[in-house]
């Protein structure tokens, strides 16, 4: 019992520092300058939203912070130590569904836990059930992945990312494919979980309103090459309602800024 409560206690969120990160992809059709000298400081426990049009390097930056991709120059510091590879401290919710179809819901959440030593099978199960309850899927633990709706899939992905008790959560457009109603529910859930579990969250989105609803800060990217243009502090009380008037004021302002920085051919941003 002690190990389970030990495992479930809140861990201190990490402080992240992205320092002058550049990244170029070389392909047969030429070079893509995905990130150009990007710097960003994220406080421990901060919720930061990255907003920008398609192809501006948001996913690339997330992969670099996760340690899945290397940089050409610059580095990422987690609590002052350089990130050299992926690890349980920083979990990712990927843009496309990365749930394992050969495992059921519980199996997916258990995958990361099984790689943690010092837990018995029973304890792992208890931990997994805790997170499935947290995302409201306790009645679907033995469902197959293909039987879930899009929203439920993202909830499983969230539970799977939370289960190893990371200090940072990196979320790449997790709600992009969902309908507005499901999304609104998840905005509530993610704010509640963030407050409860105290994680540093970096959240990528196309949707300015979503960013304002969730973020302590909204960071604006522009493409070709990917650069940070502006940062906005969102000083609204929580929990926030995506339909509130105050929120709309912020998103109008940010959308305007975004359009200013955009080159005319890339306007795929929803307000």
């Amino acid at each position: 019992m002690t190990t389970v409560s030990e495992e479930l206690r809140n861990v201190a969120p990490e402080k992240l520092a992205v320092e002058g990160v550049s990244k170029t992809f070389r392909t047969q059709r030429g070079h893509v300058h995905a990130l150009d000298n990007v710097s960003l400081n994220v406080r421990e426990g901060e919720f930061v939203c990255l907003v920008g049009p398609s192809g501006c390097g948001k996913s690339t930056l997330l992969s670099i912070i996760a340690g899945l991709e290397s940089t050409d120059s610059g580095q990422v510091l987690a609590d002052g130590k350089p990130v050299t590879g992926p690890g349980r401290e920083r979990m990712v919710m990927f843009q496309e569904s990365a749930l394992f179809p050969w495992l059921d819901v519980l199996g997916n959440v258990l995958f990361g836990l099984k790689l943690k030593p010092n837990l018995t099978g029973k304890e792992r199960r208890e931990v997994a059930l805790f997170y499935l309850k947290l995302v409201g899927l306790e009645n679907f633990i033995h469902a197959n992945i293909h039987e879930l709706s899009g929203g439920m899939k993202q909830r499983v992905a969230l539970a799977r990312a939370l289960a190893p008790n990371p200090r940072v959560l990196l979320m790449d457009e997790p709600f992009a494919a969902l309908d507005a109603l499901t999304r609104e529910q998840l905005y509530g859930d993610i704010q509640r979980i963030w407050a409860e579990r105290k994680k540093t969250i970096i959240f990528v989105t196309h949707n300015v309103r979503e960013a304002v609803c969730l973020g302590d800060r909204v960071v604006l990217f522009s493409p070709h090459p990917g650069r940070i243009q502006e940062k906005f502090e969102i000083k609204l009380p929580r929990p926030r309602d995506i339909n509130s008037v105050d929120l709309a004021k912020y998103s109008t302002e940010i959308t305007r800024a975004l359009k200013r920085h955009l080159k005319p051919e890339t306007t795929e941003v929803a307000e």
Partner: protein, 255 residues
């Protein structure tokens, strides 16, 4: 229940039509025995145990040869998918040999190993191993890289990723390759038994061969039926449950 009824009626009608046509004298009784003759052959050959022993010998060869094919073929496929050098060498060889009908191995096997058990194993293994290798290779390549990336963030790496992510993710492909490998093993073994005439350890293929030599059509057809039934049972008992599981989990019609 209804399904079973349909199956029974279908085969009853088939056998009935066969009996009817034989009685009408449509074919020479030397060439086409009646179902009753075949039935009598079954009874006598089960009583004197020739059919049972031959089936046992054949199954033993088949299972052993197939298992060896899997033990070699699966890792070869994984290696091919993992290392470019393997793909360019073993992969090309596998692709070439896969197209070679397995009967073509018989002359070579006879010259190398003589009329022996080894010759038959060799033919079975050569017949089935390449399709297992190629399917595993293709299966692993079809695995979205995102699975391995996700696994890495959760602390998986190296062998763990291969065993717990890449391999299960490629299972739908691998299983269909294993099924194909089984079918090829079965075909190769029959070719081997018909060509490699050994003095001990008669298999179904040998019985078939001698049935022909003795012009015993009831035996020839009876043995063919046994061969078909074994093939059917293997499919239904061995592969159907696995395929059903895969369909359920993946929610697709892939197999």
């Amino acid at each position: 229940m209804k399904r079973w009824l349909l199956v029974i009626i279908f085969f009853a009608v088939l056998i009935g039509a066969w009996e009817y046509l034989v009685r009408r004298g449509v074919w020479s009784p030397v060439l086409v025995p009646s179902p009753l003759d075949v039935g009598r052959y079954f009874v006598s050959s089960i009583q004197d145990r020739t059919l049972l022993e031959a089936s046992y010998v054949t199954m033993k060869r088949l299972v052993l040869g197939y298992v060896v094919s899997l033990i070699i073929g699966l890792p070869l496929g994984l290696l091919n998918a993992r290392f470019k050098a393997c793909e360019d060498t073993i992969g090309v060889l596998a692709l070439g040999l896969q197209t070679l009908p397995s009967v073509c191995w018989a002359p070579l096997a006879l010259l190398w190993f003589g009329q022996t058990e080894t010759a038959m194993f060799f033919i079975v293994i050569m017949g089935s191993i390449w399709s297992v290798t190629l399917a595993t290779d293709a299966g692993v390549r079809s695995v979205p890289p995102i699975y391995a990336r996700a696994a890495r963030t959760m602390g998986s790496g190296g062998l763990h990723t291969w065993l717990k992510v890449i391999f299960p993710a490629s299972l739908p492909f691998v299983v269909s390759g294993m099924k194909q490998g089984w079918a090829f093993a079965w075909r190769s073994l029959m070719a081997a038994e018909i060509y490699v005439t050994i003095l001990t350890g008669f298999g179904l293929g040998h019985l078939l061969h001698y049935g022909r030599e003795l012009h015993a059509m009831d035996a020839v057809i009876g043995i063919m039926i046994v061969i078909i039934v074994i093939g059917l049972l293997a499919d239904k008992i061995l592969f159907s449950p696995i395929e059903r599981f895969l369909h359920r989990r993946w929610g697709t019609a892939r197999n």
